[in-house]
């Protein structure tokens, strides 16, 4: 029996339309038309994703993952991009393998985790899942694209949680990495350490607390050692890369401009295409990462809340799809995909609102970019697949 979720389709198409509007408004007709050409391709790819039998898809999880890793390696060697290696150029098309890698990672991870009844905080349960995620995440990180590599951490956490791992254990699993990231300054590290200690004390025994804190402390101490071995400007670059909010220069110029654009939209916005585009002229990626700023300026609070509502609708349908799925692999797929979309949405909008550091991360379905649009549609197609044919 075939079920279908029209809500998911409608939400996706509405989001994409919002995106086209914003791209036209901020990037002009060139980028608008390019994105418009991609849309039918993306819809076609989504349709194919709906129709492919999942058994075959699961069977192909390893080769797909392998291909993704190869592409990430290749882009490191042969890729291009402003100051980094993120893209392949194929004629007029830029291909971003990290988008594909996210999907491939979720697929393989879902397949692997679905075999497990329970997941504890031990090497046997976690070695393989962590490795599956770490390989593409590290390859993306050295591109360098830290913000995208953090998406992998988000999807790992969400999928481990979905498969039944205790939240406390997830926190412990990630605490060394968090400690390292927070360790560049005592002002971030001490609060982190205190909060971690309190949580551990409440939720587990003294012994576990001490072990957890010791491991965290070790990684936290490593951070200043690594930093101090670097030259001044390298250190500054890394701190502003890992933690732009720590930058003594304060919130960045881009963040201020983005906030002015959004804030000046007020309740109902200045009207479509009425935003002062000139002012956004100094935002480097106004039709990609900063597309939400243009929407906020032109559509105001009403438009922004509508957009957030659409995201809520979409993500809720994806999580409901996880519930409806007959097989746990399918459920995990949906959870992983929802984590990707949800994380990127929150981080992108959060940075434009000035509550998160400015990092290069795209807003799913809205930001200009063929690879991103295509992969996001395939992702929705796969969720529809899970809903429509329980196996």
């Amino acid at each position: 029996m075939r079920r279908f979720d029209p809500g998911l389709i409608i939400a996706t198409l509405l989001l994409a339309s919002f995106g086209l509007l914003a791209i036209y408004s901020s990037g002009g007709s060139y980028y608008f038309l390019r994105q418009l050409i991609f849309l039918p391709i993306a819809v076609g790819a989504a349709a194919a994703a709906v129709l492919v039998p999942r058994r075959i898809l699961y069977g192909l999880a390893e080769p797909i993952y392998g291909l993704a890793v190869l592409m990430l390696l290749a882009v490191l060697i042969a890729g291009t991009g402003p100051g980094s290696h993120r893209w392949f150029v194929l004629g007029p098309v830029y291909i971003q393998p990290s988008e594909f890698a996210k999907l491939a990672t979720v697929l393989l991870l879902a397949k692997h985790l679905s075999y497990k009844r329970t997941i504890g905080l031990n090497f046997r349960d976690l070695a393989v899942p962590v490795a599956i995620v770490a390989v593409p995440a590290l390859l993306v990180m050295v591109e360098p694209d830290l913000s995208t590599s953090l998406v992998f951490a988000a999807l790992l956490a969400a999928m481990l949680y979905g498969q039944g791992m205790r939240p406390l254990h997830i926190l412990l699993l990630f605490s060394p990495a968090l400690s390292f990231a927070a360790g560049f300054s005592l002002y971030t590290w001490i609060p982190f350490f205190v909060v971690l200690g309190i949580i551990l004390l409440i939720r587990s025994g003294v012994e576990k607390t001490l072990i957890g804190l010791a491991v965290s402390a070790a990684f936290g101490l490593l951070s200043p050692v690594v930093l101090s071995s670097l030259k001044g400007y390298q250190r500054a670059r890394i701190i502003s890369f890992v933690a732009p909010w720590f930058d003594p220069h304060g919130i960045s110029w881009n963040a201020i401009q983005s906030q002015i654009a959004i804030g000046s939209g007020r309740l109902i916005g200045k009207g479509l295409l009425q935003g002062s585009q000139k002012r956004l002229g100094f935002l480097p990626n106004r039709h990609t990462d900063f597309v939400f700023s243009a929407l906020g300026e032109e559509l105001g609070l009403v438009g922004c809340l509508m957009l957030l509502g659409l995201f809520y609708w979409l993500l809720r349908r994806m999580l409901m799809a996880a519930r409806q799925s007959g097989d746990s692999t399918g459920s995990l797929l949906c959870v992983g995909f929802a984590a990707i979309v949800g994380y990127q949405m929150f981080v992108n909008i959060g940075m434009l609102l000035g509550i998160l550091p400015i990092t290069g991360i795209a807003l799913p379905f809205l930001s200009y970019g063929g690879s991103s649009l295509l992969l996001n549609f395939i992702l929705v197609g796969l969720v529809l697949n899970v809903v429509s044919r329980p196996e």
């Binding site: 110029w253 201020i256 906030q259 002012r279």
Partner: protein
């Protein structure tokens, strides 16, 4: 799993709630303010330029600092046509020039400098009309100022505007920034350059600042570090003055024990302040096309044949190998030495001399034979070991190693074995293809005078940050392959040079000086005059290397200059100048010279001709 999915949905709702709350805060609570800010881009980033560190001499005499300079800047997007015309008229710039200057950047909201180093009058005129000049701002910038003698143009160097490539390479630089281009300014760029601060201000519709932006803390600037140099301004100026009659020359003075440079003069020089204002074409052309190359730092970059100043190296090498001792006498000098079918000349018929006498009289015949005994390979290897042909490591850009024409070098230059055996003879008297910088010779002679301890010369003694010393120079010493007994012989020879030999012109009476003259052949032009010497002869504290291009004999020209400098170094710095040299400009007449100073150019007591 169902419960967990519900929990994930709740997490999602919390996250969306956070975003919504922030949206309400931005768009409703602060909406009016942001709308006002966006009306036109009413935020301007102001840069608070950090003053560059000062450069002082060893006694605290100011050699480079930063003075305020007024710059008229324009925000092209805010400038109206009528304001542009008015501004052009006020500043006396042709309107078309101004338009051209702003042309390619007219779409940007960041200020463009249209007049650097504007005069007080110009600033006042612009200020008076400020209400008619929207988008025009007066900025006070720190500008580099070199109040010292022009002779510092090579040591201290100068700064210049960054190039596009440098901007790309170093992200901490901004357009229109100045960075060190030569000398200390370039070598110590990272210490001298501070970090600019910044401040965001809100401006009103006329472009006038109304106050700092609340969202943004101002970041104070960090001034650059102050450098105290080892240079003694008094000696530097005296050296400069003693070189007045000579267009091309170099002097290096150094403390023998530490390597602290006392003076470093290269002529011709120029006024480094010309780089701070837009340089006019004729000044630039005259500097660039000057055949004497004023930008060339002769003390560390130029390799000259060392001439007879090379002889102590030959002596030390031969003594060490046991080919020679103090009393060795060769075939007597008859005014030349016949080798093969060629006669190699000497400056006089010295007759039979021992080693000390040969050094004192600078007898070429003696050293031809010593060189032949030692052989080219041993000679060149030894010259390298004592530091010739390699960098001294002074903390200054542009140092060159000179040249030691070894067998490999000669083979490469002339083809295998296509060079004559006479090369070793030329090498033995420091002529031909062997070259050394004045700095290398100073370091070498300091080592000869101090038991073979070769120092690394340095120019910066101390680095201060906000009055606190953060770094002091540590002398760096290397032991040369010399034996004390050999050094004693050579030092005796060097003392005799000044006592009764070729270098009597350096004699100053109260302090015993040891040194060596040299005359570097420079065919077809006149010879270069060398003198390198240290004092006091028994326990040297200071060494001077003097090279005057095309001035003839080292004994006649360079030795007296070294004598004067040594006398000044050891005398207290209190006397007022009573310079015999009337050509000295008032600005440079500061250095002391005590009563009874000899005339600058004098004939040495003993007229000794040498190569």
């Amino acid at each position: 799993m169902a419960a967990r999915l519900t929990r994930l949905t709740q997490v999602l709702m919390v996250l969306l709630g956070i975003l919504s709350a922030r949206l309400v805060q931005l768009q409703v609570v602060q909406g009016a303010r942001y709308a006002r800010l966006s009306d036109r881009n009413r935020i301007r980033k102001l840069v608070l330029p950090a003053p560059r560190g000062r450069i002082l001499d060893r006694n605290g005499v100011l050699l480079a600092d930063t003075r305020p300079s007024f710059t008229v800047a324009v925000v092209p997007t805010e400038l109206t046509d009528s304001a542009l015309s008015l501004l052009a008229w006020l500043l006396g710039i042709p309107e078309t020039d101004l338009r051209q200057q702003l042309g390619p950047v007219a779409m940007f909201a960041s200020p463009v400098n249209v007049k650097r180093d504007a005069s007080i009058d110009e600033v006042a005129r612009v200020q008076e009309n400020s209400f008619r000049l929207p988008g025009v701002h007066i900025r006070v910038d720190p500008v580099r100022n070199y109040p010292g003698s022009n002779s510092y143009c090579h040591v201290i160097g100068h700064i210049g505007e960054v190039s596009k490539e440098e901007l790309k390479r170093d992200t901490s630089l901004r357009q229109l920034d100045f960075i060190g281009r030569a000398g200390i300014e370039a070598q110590y760029e990272t210490l001298l350059r501070g970090r600019d601060g910044s401040e965001y201000v809100e401006v009103d519709a006329r472009g006038q600042e109304v106050g700092p932006l609340r969202e943004k803390r101002p970041e104070p600037d960090v001034p650059g570090r102050d450098l105290t140099m080892t240079i003694d301004d008094r000696i530097q100026r005296l050296a400069c003055r003693l070189l007045m009659p000579y267009p091309r020359a170099a002097i290096v003075g150094m403390e023998t024990r530490t390597g602290a440079i006392i003076c470093l003069v290269s002529k011709p020089d120029f006024n480094p302040n010309i780089f701070m204002a837009p340089i006019d074409a004729s000044t630039w052309d005259s500097l660039i096309s000057n055949p004497s190359k004023p930008f060339y730092n002769r003390t560390v970059t130029a390799g000259y044949p060392p001439g007879s100043t090379m002889k102590p190296v030959i002596a030390l090498g031969a003594l060490r190998q046991g080919q020679l001792n103090r009393h060795t006498r060769f075939q007597p000098c008859t005014g030349g030495y016949k080798y093969g079918n060629r006669t190699f000349k000497c400056n006089a018929a010295h007759g039979s001399l021992d080693l000390v006498g040969a050094i004192a009289q600078s007898c070429n015949t003696y050293f031809y034979q010593a060189g032949l005994r030692l052989g080219l390979d041993s000679l060149t290897a030894y010259a390298r070991e004592v530091g010739l042909g390699r960098l001294t490591g002074i903390d200054m850009p542009g140092e060159r190693p000179g040249n030691i024409p070894s067998r490999e070098w000669l083979d490469k230059r002339y083809g295998k074995n296509k060079w004559g055996a006479g090369s070793v003879l030329n090498f033995a008297i420091g002529q031909g293809e062997v070259t050394a910088t004045p700095l290398q010779m100073a370091v070498l002679y300091a080592a000869i005078g101090s038991g073979g301890r070769a120092v690394r010369p340095y120019l910066v003694a101390r680095v201060d940050s906000a009055g606190q010393t953060i770094r002091t120079a540590a002398p760096d010493v290397r032991q040369l392959p010399t034996r004390p007994q050999d050094l004693a012989v050579v030092r005796l020879g060097l003392e005799r040079v000044v006592e009764y030999g070729t270098g009597t012109g350096a004699r100053i009476g109260e302090i015993r000086i040891a040194g060596k003259t040299g005359t570097a052949q420079n065919p077809p032009r006149p010879d270069h005059a060398w003198f390198v010497g240290y004092a006091p002869a028994d326990e040297p504290e200071v060494v001077f290397a003097v090279l005057v291009e095309n001035a003839g004999h080292g004994g006649a020209v360079s030795a007296p200059i070294a004598g004067q400098l040594i006398r000044a170094y050891f005398s207290p710095a209190v006397e007022s100048p009573s310079a015999p040299d009337t050509t000295a400009s008032p600005a440079e007449a500061a250095p002391a010279s005590e009563p009874g100073t000899r005339p600058l150019r004098q004939t040495p007591a003993t007229e000794n001709r040498e190569w």
